[in-house]
Assembly symmetry: C2
């Protein structure tokens, strides 16, 4: 129990305590921790001597130093914050360090080092396979042997709330002889879950060491221009169809807050190679919800994703690639078994052939200028609570 | 003419003056400029008040601040250094700021922000198309309409001289039913040319603005594990087959030093879309040379590359993607028309079917443990001189 008022259904009870970076009138950019409808000003708490200091890591304007400090420190800081926000004796001092979330501006919480995007949902990969290769097996031969992934553009990862300008580029209609240039006509979202690396490593990280390196989890919208992507992506993969923007939620939920959200992932057949095995995978029972202009259009279940995050991390580094603080890797689009659980418009509208209808009577195959797309999620927290991720949201601006 | 002794054939006459980062006994990591067989200690020259200071950009331990300072500053510093190294009046003071290259250790010269790798050589793309898709057209339909590219792993870009450990990973023989795990048996190099972004931009950069944003040029070896790549790359492109290491040369040659190396690129048919056109492309007449254990195995001509660097930059940002100081984009493997000009072993040995023979009697289809692969290049400098890039070199270490 916190002495802070926590409204019923809040994403941020005392069992969550996610980390982010905010500013507000009178407070320049700094680290904060969400609690109910408030933010604890972590810098202020540290300056008051209330937190375990480590070379000023808690006084920076990003989470970078905190992330680099490692798991023992993450746990020490978070458990001390839980104490400060629950023991009534601290209320007189600490209540002055709370800022209303509605008065705060959230910032990109950490410097994104490398950004990797996986393709780990079997339902999503199957849906796209059926649409793009109707005459072949929906899944490619490698898909159940390794978590397929690729590197995205780290420099265009933006925080929730940042407007997204419709990209221009080359696209070619299937029956056209030449490509044309112009605004994307098939702008889409992808509902994903991202993992934030705290502690780097010089080489391979085993599935067993996942929690030593990954600090926490956020929501990701991997905006996609399907027409640009379709024309460019052979043979080297997605490039400009993705690189214009990727949005992340501002609050990073720690693995420690998600310990009761762990769940058995889908059974894996064939049995993965040894480096991809673990006694207990880091599958997580996150319930995602996607809204378009406030109306729910999908509820993707993250627990259905085939390749878990520990398997993704082990794969990403098994070739000896080093890992850095700030590396971000995302699951790829999360889609469930049923049509209402699909995590992108290209799936929801089946390639544009079956537009979805909104309650205002309009229909969508892809996103229109002015549309606001929001992804949120909740998960089981500890002590029987339910915790949330807040949301990642973006509004489409027209091409210049 | 410099008062520094410049041996005949040196890569670093006074018309070059490339920038890098070095350390040497008694000097911690700092910026330097190559001249003959020496390095000018730029920090020392700046501390002595000999250079135009800008917020201490020249006293950092990377080029990051210098790169961010922009073209006017790049030119001012370089022309002042040319003056210091040519006017005899400066010799008494400045000669004490020279360090022998043989006594120096070179470091990664800048923080790599995003790394993009193109596929811009028609001969290379054609060779690979013939090998991998023998029954189809060698070039895919998009290839002559846009510079195909993808994002690589920025965190594993290393400086020349760094050993490269043979990666492990999944690979599947064409006739095998299941993949196996182990050290790559088809480890390759790719001889490429890289472009280093100095001044960032919030969105599209036109071909005309290329030189406002790109500071200079280096050599790149995009080490590639062909067996890992072949199994993983469908449909999202290369990932672990590339991400274990990418080596760059330590000296960044400024565009100003390469003004007389500009050359007409290959004629482009069909005419590219307007955003990819320029009055005069930034094609460069660089003569690359590849040696394996000291023996020349290829001489790829960079002037033959189809898509020029200004076209690559315009394409990379046309979707609105922002550009950052430290972004690195590379040409992709440079291969010329003749077999002796191929820029990778998979081409030189034609997929392993025609191993090359070295003078020691051994043969190579791909790289062996202990092999040292070096790429160097020269180009026309100003005033009829010839300048060079030094080299990028790496030695293969066995898998752990």
């Amino acid at each position: 129990m916190s002495w802070v008022l926590i409204p019923q259904g809040s994403h941020f009870p005392i069992t969550n305590l996610p980390f982010g970076v905010f500013s507000s009138p009178g407070r320049d950019q700094r680290i904060g921790v969400a609690i109910g409808e408030q933010i604890l000003d972590v810098r202020a708490a540290d300056e008051a001597g209330l937190l375990p200091d480590l070379s000023g890591a808690l006084r920076l304007d990003t989470l970078d130093g905190f992330l680099a400090a490692g798991r023992v420190y993450w746990r020490g800081v978070r458990s001390r914050i839980a104490q400060l926000l629950s023991e009534p004796a601290h209320e007189p001092v600490v209540s002055g360090m709370l800022v209303a979330q509605e008065d705060a501006t959230m910032h990109l919480p950490f410097t994104v080092a490398d950004f990797v995007d996986f393709y780990a949902s079997e339902q999503h990969a199957t849906n796209l396979g059926k649409m793009f290769r109707p005459d072949s097996a929906a899944l490619l031969p490698n898909w159940k042997h390794l978590p397929v992934g690729y590197h995205g553009r780290a420099g265009t990862v933006v925080v929730s709330g940042t407007d997204v300008r419709r990209p221009q580029g080359q696209r070619k209609a299937p029956d056209a002889s030449e490509p044309t240039f112009g605004p994307s006509a098939r702008l889409d979202f992808e509902a994903e879950v991202g993992f934030v690396v705290g502690t780097g490593a010089p080489g391979p990280v085993s599935t067993a060491d996942f929690a030593e390196h990954v600090f926490g989890v956020c929501l990701v919208n991997d905006w996609s221009a399907r027409d640009i992507q379709a024309w460019e992506y052979v043979p080297l993969g997605p490039f400009l169809g993705k690189s214009f923007a990727t949005s992340i939620s501002p609050w990073i939920v720690s693995l420690d807050a998600l310990i009761d959200a762990r769940t058995d992932g889908p059974a894996q057949d064939p049995t993965p190679l040894p480096y991809l095995r673990s006694d207990r995978r880091w599958s997580l029972d996150l319930a995602l919800e996607v809204t378009l202009n406030g109306e729910t259009i999908s509820r993707p279940p993250f627990a259905s994703v085939y390749w878990s995050a520990d398997q993704q991390l082990a794969h990403m580094t098994v070739n000896g690639a080093s890992l850095r603080t700030g590396d971000l890797f995302a699951s790829g689009t999360v889609s469930g078994d049923s049509p209402e659980q699909r995590g992108s418009l290209i799936e929801l509208s089946w390639g544009g052939k079956e537009p979805i209808t909104l309650t205002d009577g309009s229909s969508r195959s892809f996103l229109l200028d002015g549309d606001t797309l929001t992804i949120s999620a909740t998960a089981p927290g500890v002590d029987g609570t339910r915790i949330g991720f807040g949301s990642v949201s973006g509004t489409i601006q027209p091409s210049i």
